[in-house]
């Protein structure tokens, strides 16, 4: 009987100790996270919690590095924030937009830069829902949209997110860098520098067996519907690449855009920027290329949408 009581006290002690440490550490991390001044966490905080910018650019690294927010602001007379983020995919883009709408801060225009990772089943952590949930985990308690995304991730996410520490898993280094390592901020646009070698030829990617990820397609439809319901002007874009991708998945997106009457721009072979000197690598424009592309794209927007 005494042994049983001791065991019970130990179990209780473990649970209480865990809850105390979990809540304390979770609180400290939340404060530090929300007050991060630089880098990807700061940009994400701004986009989700503060931004009222008229134009929201969504996408992964191509969006982050190819679209210069200030060019859009100067030319269109609207505020613009580039919420493009390395390694993210459609689940992230949709949820970021949904969070802004939840905060009653819907943008007037959304530019969605997409790639094959937003449509295909890819065995790459950057193209999975788990990485998007992991990125947005610190805001789990703040937005229903993020809780919905977590629930879509799996049936046990609700239990995992009970722990406050779990929400800040693997975030500490980025938090420290974002608090103490200043980086230049330009409304979310992340300039990259360097060029491809002059002799670089534009090559065609070899086509592998592809499977359309129906879950991702469902999120594309959700994003389009969300824009429709909130009176947001949506533009879907393929930004310039220095390679040819013969994947039939792009036709899928084009068909969806046509079906939903969403303006679709395939600028993957925009001649104005098809020079090695304007690309940092085959997927991303450098700063000079991004400025040129942004100006060209803005003029396309002006012509086609009366902005």
């Amino acid at each position: 009987m005494k042994k049983g009581k001791n065991i019970l006290f130990i179990i209780l002690g473990v649970i209480i100790a865990f809850l105390m440490i979990d809540n304390l550490v979770g609180y400290v991390f939340k404060v530090v996270y929300n007050n991060t001044k630089y880098g990807v966490i700061h940009r994400q905080n701004y986009c989700l919690n503060e931004s009222n910018d008229d134009i929201l650019i969504l996408g992964s690294s191509e969006a982050a590095h190819n679209y210069v927010s200030s060019v859009f602001e100067d030319s269109l007379g609207m505020t613009c924030f580039n919420a493009g983020s390395d390694g993210m995919c459609i689940y992230y883009y949709y949820t970021v937009l949904a969070c802004r709408i939840e905060r009653a801060a819907a943008p007037k225009m959304v530019i969605l830069d997409y790639g094959d990772a937003d449509l295909l089943e890819i065995d790459d952590p950057t193209a999975k829902i788990e990485s998007c949930v992991s990125r947005l985990a610190p805001y789990y308690g703040d937005y229903q949209s993020i809780r919905d995304l977590a629930n879509d991730c799996g049936p046990y996410e609700k239990i995992k997110f009970f722990s406050h520490m779990y929400r800040y898993n693997s975030q500490i280094i980025q938090m420290c860098l974002g608090s103490f390592y200043p980086t230049k901020e330009n409304k979310g646009y992340e300039a990259v520098f360097g060029t491809l070698p002059d002799e670089t030829q534009r090559e065609q990617l070899s086509l592998h067996e592809e499977v359309i990820d129906q879950s991702k397609v469902a999120y594309i439809h959700k994003l389009i519907n969300l824009c429709d319901q909130n009176g947001i002007k949506l533009l879907i874009v393929r930004s310039p690449k220095y390679y040819d991708n013969p994947s039939p998945c792009f036709k899928v997106m084009e068909d969806i855009a046509q079906e939903k009457s969403v303006p679709y721009y395939d600028l993957s072979y925009l001649e104005t920027v098809m020079q090695p000197s304007l690309f940092r690598d085959v997927s991303h424009l450098n700063d000079e290329g991004a400025h040129i592309f942004s100006r060209v794209f803005v003029s396309i927007i002006k012509k086609s949408t009366n902005y």
Binding site: F18, D86, S131, S134, R135, N169, S170, I172
Partner: protein, 476 residues
């Protein structure tokens, strides 16, 4: 559902609870059902293969028990070993042999392509095959009594904590425990839980964290400098240790929660002062198996060859080890390298002993540290071949390390958290190796012990790789 999945954390306490509630008579069938269900959840079809190997093992051991004639008994044993090895050969090595034959034919100018078979490797097949063969040989040698109850043999081979990744247990250790199946003591559950928590730390905070960096570098050899490749090569043994030893601890801890004492599999290998000592501390269950069933019989048979016999036995043993690790030329090269290193140590043993005694080196801390570092570097170098997908890739990595220095690829999160966690792991190992009396997690004070273990759990939650959401985004 693997040990590191969240579902396992939810269901395992229920499994342990039910095990202790069920009457003793029903526990064998219960554990057997749980073990088969665990395996079936991972690979339903290959459960049939596990059952087939179990059937073969049971059948051949029972057959041997009923044979009086020694020669016939020997033939039955050999037949049993061949029969049990056949599935392993077909699933793991068929395509490798196939490709080797095709390459050989093409080298002779014959353009003949052998048919290949594309099928998934059954999980744990290397482990339960070795356990089966070990039981067969032990039964032949009368080291263990032939078991009449097929459920005992079934549980021995399918016991869910150890079926996927070992340790490679022995019938002599497991059969008595399986037949007893007593309730778990409180100390079993607490000790088991502690082992599992530390296993999760090793796997999630050290191995999986370092793997992000190492895979990002080794997956893009052409784009990384020799410095980065060399650094990744230096980190790889730590990743492997965290992975294998961490998973072993999870298995040992899970078994302990149900009162089973499973053999240790790693014993602070990076504090070895020689390669032979290293191989007594690294993957102990595999090395013991190879020593008992391959090295000892061969070295005994070749005892008249003296040192040459020892060298032959070592080379064959580690060749088998290499083949066991993988159906690839790189694994064979790796195995032969280990055999060669141990052979060199065996040949020079007398001279080294003389020097160590003459200069009292064995008690010199600088000498000990130097030896540990050399052993680590040698192992890290051989692992370049072990981990590479081809000989050409391995040679390329080695060439780049020595000829193409440059800037180090830095990914702050992986490096700081991974290397930091590795240091914690090594410090704990150093504490245990030196017998320092720093007791936090194993403190006699209950409060200190509880808080320490909760801090380890907190560390895992904050810094471990808990899901598929972590990655290094490397742009070219």
């Amino acid at each position: 559902m693997t040990f590191t999945s969240f579902e396992f954390l939810l269901y395992f306490p229920v499994v342990v609870l039910l095990y202790n509630i069920i009457p003793q008579k029903g526990r064998l069938l219960y554990l057997l059902a749980v073990s088969y269900a665990f395996y079936a959840l991972l690979q339903p079809v290959y459960l049939l293969l596990l059952l087939a190997v179990t059937g073969l093992t049971y059948g051949f051991t029972r057959w041997m028990a009923n044979v009086e004639d020694d020669d016939k008994k020997h033939r039955v044993m050999i037949g049993g070993i061949v029969a049990i090895l056949l599935p392993l050969f077909f699933f793991k090595y068929f395509n490798f042999v196939d490709n080797a034959i095709t390459s050989g034919l093409q080298a002779m100018g014959l353009d003949i392509t052998m048919p290949t078979i594309r099928w998934m490797l059954p999980l744990g097949i290397s482990y339960y095959t070795f356990m089966s063969i070990g039981y067969l040989i032990d039964a032949y040698n009368d080291d263990v009594e032939v078991e009449k109850n097929p459920c005992v043999v079934g549980l021995f081979l399918s016991f869910f904590p150890i079926v996927l990744s070992g340790p490679i247990e022995r019938a002599g250790n497991m059969f008595p425990q399986i037949k007893q199946l007593g309730k778990s003591k409180v100390s079993d559950i607490t000790d088991g839980a502690k082992l599992m928590v530390w296993g999760y730390f090793m796997k999630l905070c050290v191995a999986d964290r370092l793997a992000l960096y190492i895979n990002a570098v080794n997956g893009n050899i052409g784009h990384h400098t020799g410095t980065s490749l060399g650094f990744a090569a230096l980190l790889f043994p730590l990743q492997e240790y965290g992975d294998l030893a961490g998973y072993s601890l999870l298995a040992i801890g899970a078994a302990r929660c149900m009162g089973f004492k499973v053999m240790d599999n790693f014993k602070r290998p990076f504090f070895s002062t020689s390669m032979s000592e290293f191989w007594r501390r690294w993957h102990i269950s595999l090395i013991k198996w190879l020593t008992d069933y391959i090295y000892t019989p061969i070295s005994y048979a070749l005892r008249s060859w003296k040192m040459s016999g020892v060298v032959c036995a070592l080379l064959v043993t580690f060749l088998v080890s290499g083949i066991w690790h993988g159906a690839a030329l790189t694994c064979i090269i790796w195995g032969l390298m280990q055999g060669l290193l141990l052979s060199i140590e065996a040949i020079t043993q007398k001279h080294r002993n003389t020097l160590e005694t003459k200069y009292k080196l064995k008690k010199n801390p600088i000498y000990i540290v130097l030896c540990c570092m050399i052993v680590y570097l040698i192992f890290a170098f051989t692992e370049i071949y072990g981990m590479s997908s081809s000989i050409a890739d391995a040679n390329r990595i080695v060439a780049k390390i020595f000829t193409e220095p440059g800037s180090l690829f830095v990914h702050p999160t992986s490096l700081i958290l991974g290397v930091g966690s590795a240091f914690i792991l090594l410090f704990k190992d150093l504490k245990d190796e030196c017998g320092w009396k720093i007791h936090l997690m194993h403190s006699d004070n209950t409060i200190i012990s509880i808080v320490s273990w909760v801090c380890v759990v907190a560390y895992i939650l904050l810094f471990g790789i808990l899901d598929g959401g972590q990655f290094i985004y490397f742009q070219f």
